[in-house]
């Protein structure tokens, strides 16, 4: 993966495959603490301790129908976080869901760039209309904090059955995400 936003997309797909109906994504860009933190929380099927350990192994995949039993998504994300002097943790409870936290040292030379966060979020939100996304983007610096919150549950309610891939809705969501990403300095981080 060339950037962090592609890893994020991959992780969101894992949550969807685990049957999540609500996915909460928090991204914190903290200039003072020198950290870029991603917290992805879902209410999918979760994993027991054994599966959780295996999920971080590249030669494990939960996809039983597959001939090729390789699952690189989580191991690669973990590796990239750790390469930038960051950290990576997953906690999970069968039947309750999974929480994944990845931290990157913001000014580390080996940190991957954020990449196109807007396209990741737009694709995930529109590509999974039966899943609700709660998104929080937070930027912190010495004495200021800027945040952006976006809740698709609320938008779907207002739209009353109009699909999210309706042309004007695509534009609405894209522009909203754009504003939020710019206001929290996540565009070129």
């Amino acid at each position: 993966m060339q950037d962090i936003s592609l890893h994020l997309l991959d992780i969101i797909e894992n949550s969807v495959r685990a049957g999540a109906k609500h996915i909460r994504i928090r991204i914190i860009n903290d200039a003072q603490e020198n950290v870029l933190r991603f917290i992805i929380e879902d209410d999918g099927c979760g994993m027991d301790a054994e599966t959780l350990a295996l999920a971080q192994d590249p030669f494990y995949s939960s996809k039983e129908e597959r001939v090729k039993k390789v699952g690189l998504g989580i191991p690669l994300f973990k590796q990239n976080a750790e390469l930038s002097n960051g950290s990576f943790t997953i906690t999970s409870e069968p039947g309750l869901g999974t929480v994944l936290t990845a931290e990157f040292e913001r000014d580390n030379i080996d940190r991957l760039p954020m990449g196109n966060l807007k396209d990741t979020l737009l694709g995930a939100i529109l590509g999974h209309q039966d899943v609700d996304f709660h998104l929080s983007l937070i930027y912190r610096d010495q004495d200021k904090e800027q945040s952006f919150h976006f809740n698709t549950e609320f938008i779907k309610e207002e739209l009353g059955g109009i699909p999210l891939t309706y042309p004007d809705v695509i534009e609405y969501i894209e522009q909203s995400l754009n504003e939020g990403i710019q206001n929290t300095n996540m565009e070129d981080v």
């Binding site: 993966m1 592609l6 997309l9 991959d10 797909e13 969807v16 495959r17 996809k63 129908e65 597959r66 001939v67 090729k68 699952g71 690189l72 998504g73 690669l76 196109n116 396209d119 990741t120 737009l122 694709g123 995930a124 529109l126 590509g127 999974h128 209309q129 938008i155 207002e158 739209l159 009353g160 109009i162 699909p163 891939t165 309706y166 042309p167 004007d168 809705v169 695509i170 534009e171 609405y172 894209e174 522009q175 909203s176 504003e179």
Partner: protein
């Protein structure tokens, strides 16, 4: 700033249009978004479909994402599903190929056979 009032306007406009049509969704596009698909550019493929729908004002097309299907060597992979017709699977997709598929297949109903990797039921 995007506001609630904007959403209400969209809803009214869309409901008006849907009254004139019987079915809501004519054609469904499914973009494979597994790890290998993402690494090969599936996000850009998804984005291009959304752009085309928005620019061409295609109100009866639905785009969704799905996981891997075992066609890793042909990623990014896209399914086009139309009621009463066999599913068409396109492989090795790029934004340019997406634009062609939208014009030829989605708008004009002509399958772009050069990009097809499988057809199903």
């Amino acid at each position: 700033m995007k506001t609630l009032a904007d959403l209400k306007k969209i809803r009214e406009k869309a409901q008006e249009e849907m009254k004139l049509r019987n079915s809501q969704v004519r054609i469904k596009i499914v973009v494979g978004m597994g790890t290998s698909g993402i690494a090969m550019g599936a996000r850009e493929v998804m984005k291009t479909f959304l752009e085309e729908i928005s620019q061409r004002n295609l109100t009866d097309v639905l785009v969704t994402q799905t996981g891997e299907k075992g066609l890793s060597s042909m990623e990014p992979v896209v399914d086009v599903i139309e009621e009463g017709k066999p599913t068409v699977t396109y492989g090795n997709m790029t934004p340019e190929k997406v634009r062609k598929v939208v014009v030829e297949h989605i708008v004009n109903g002509r399958i772009v056979s050069d990009y097809v990797v499988a057809t199903g039921k």
